[in-house]
Symmetry: C2
Subunit: 345 residues, 2 copies
């Protein structure tokens, strides 16, 4: 493959996107443009500062191109990208929609560009296959511990493991989709600093990760405890995490996805206790950011319930996450409330 | 009644205790000593600053006596109090126990002093009837909106309604217990600024208040939303509050307590939306204080489950509250955790 380098657009250069861009660049098979929003200014001026258990310490590291917004390839007469990698958060309950974000770089009629969704949760490909019916859409399931501790400052304290496969697009030949997935694995893994693997079982990978992401992630966000502390807290695992995870295992099973018997214990222990890792939703709540609870928690809950699986724990966690999201919407001015009345005479 | 004033010891002079002391003093039938802990210094020096929807604005208001600790009546050769009113928080999961706190002013052999528990939740009288078998124990169920916004500064923005009855102590004559309850209602209500009522249905009163306190109170604490905002938030009422409240209504029914049909709607709307009232657990979480979740949420959950009532919502809320309590215990140094390991090479 790759006589010449592939042109890759990474949208979202936060904790996970910066490490993705780094892996693609160090492999030497790709030229990476990263679209940044909140951290554009510091990264554009002096690059990333990265402390990584995979890559060591990098000062002032920059991808080939740093962009303040998604380029409009039609208006700017740019060639289409070979890959567009989406590593933004995905909150369908908060405007703007992800597909409107990608729009300028991905015409609805696209056949050339492969879209890679390194995003969590279920059914995230569906809006794209609808709006871009001839686009190959790949699934990236990332298990990484990484945080942006200040704009442009990335601390990766748990190694990057990426599973890549093709979402099934009925308008595209299966072999072609799978070849694109295998090619992307090469681009991403060539640098040898990451554990990037091709997978034919995308749905299995996604449900498997939901054992963590629909359960431990919101439970940490709601309780304010990281994954080490929730294991130490009274009843945190047996009262909350394990019952929630077992509901996901049952929902997956009802959807035809048989997870390994030890998956619950594996996911409970996947983050080393003594690094006290804050999963994404907890980090987001602490920063006053929106949480990705609809794809991570809402979709598996809806699928499980529709398949007749009792999901009492997930149901309550979902409703609490929705209320917490509303709190952020109020803080961000997305919802307004009546003024406070002074009740004291 | 009351040729001479009754000697009343109020233990706990926070948001609710200060208003209780005020009501007892303005009635003119009691001499009140208040035991303060965290706010002793400011109140002892310059009294309370009170803004109250019942009492108006009071500056530098002091009860007859302000004490820094519970007096040891045996060692100090003091006469026993006529009433000891407990208005502290009640967290049986956090030492020291409430009964050890009261001990110095209430010998185990006491027959004279009547103990009044203006505290929420179920089964709170049981440890006292065991440790003080000949003490009359009264139940005070308070519906009040009051907060201590700074030490000694009380803002009461919803009126005080107190239901007083006798807990059944099998070692004491029923009529005698009930007379004590009626006498206390007179002491407390005489000033006319409060709505204090005698009740023969203590268990009913307590379960009724749990419709609010086992549900709205922890849901607000967990989501960080006050009682106005939870009514405005997406799904807050229909997804969380109402299902939780219905579980309490069913648990009460299983325990022989039939609540009025409209109790759920009543409790949802009991706090005016536009005063955005923070219930006690939310206020406690914001201050980094322990929450009273065991008596408010744990006891009704255990009683309901033991009676065969399905309580999936309360179960998850309870486990989350327990994890949040553990977070406070860690912050307060009551639990220790292993040191953090640096995962970056």
């Amino acid at each position: 493959m790759a006589d010449s380098k592939k042109n890759v657009l990474v949208i979202g250069g936060g904790a996970v996107g910066a490490i993705a861009a780094l892996n693609l660049e160090v492999g030497g098979l790709a030229t990476v443009s990263v679209v940044l929003r909140s951290n554009f200014k510091p990264v554009n001026e002096s690059g990333y500062s990265i402390e990584s258990c995979d890559h060591g310490i990098l000062k002032n590291w920059k991808p080939s191109h740093v962009l303040p917004q998604v380029p409009d390839i039609t208006n700017q007469s740019l060639p289409p990208y070979d890959y567009i990698v989406l590593v933004t958060k995905n909150c369908p309950d908060v405007p703007p929609s992800i597909s409107s974000l990608v729009g300028p770089a991905l015409p609805a009629t696209n056949t050339h560009t492969t879209l890679v969704l390194i995003q969590n949760g279920l059914n995230i490909e569906k809006p794209f296959i609808e709006s871009h019916p001839h686009t190959t859409v790949l699934s990236g399931v990332s298990l990484i511990g990484s945080a942006e501790t200040a704009p442009g400052v990335i601390v990766q304290d748990d190694r990057d493991r990426l599973l890549v496969g093709a979402f099934r697009n009925p308008n595209i030949d299966v072999a072609l989709e799978q070849n694109k997935a295998k090619e992307f694995v090469q681009l991403y893994g060539k640098g040898g600093k990451t554990d990037c693997v091709y997978s034919e079982t995308v749905l299995h990978d996604r449900w498997r990760k939901l054992v963590y992401n629909a359960c431990l992630n919101p439970i940490c966000a709601i309780t304010g405890l990281d994954t080490g502390r929730i294991r130490l807290a009274d009843g945190g695992i047996e009262g909350l995490v394990r019952p929630a995870m077992q509901e996901i295992v049952q929902a997956a099973k009802a959807k035809g996805v048989e997870l390994a018997e030890n998956v619950v214990d594996f996911m409970i222990e996947v983050d080393p206790l003594d690094i006290y890792l804050s999963p994404s939703m907890l980090a987001d709540v602490r920063k006053g950011n929106y949480i990705e609870f609809e794809n991570l928690l809402g979709e598996p809950l809806r699928e499980g319930k529709a398949a007749g699986v009792p999901m009492p724990t997930l149901e309550v966690l979902y409703q609490l996450a929705k209320a917490i999201q509303w709190r952020t919407k109020e803080a961000q001015g997305l919802v307004q409330i009546p003024p406070k009345r002074n009740a004291v005479a």
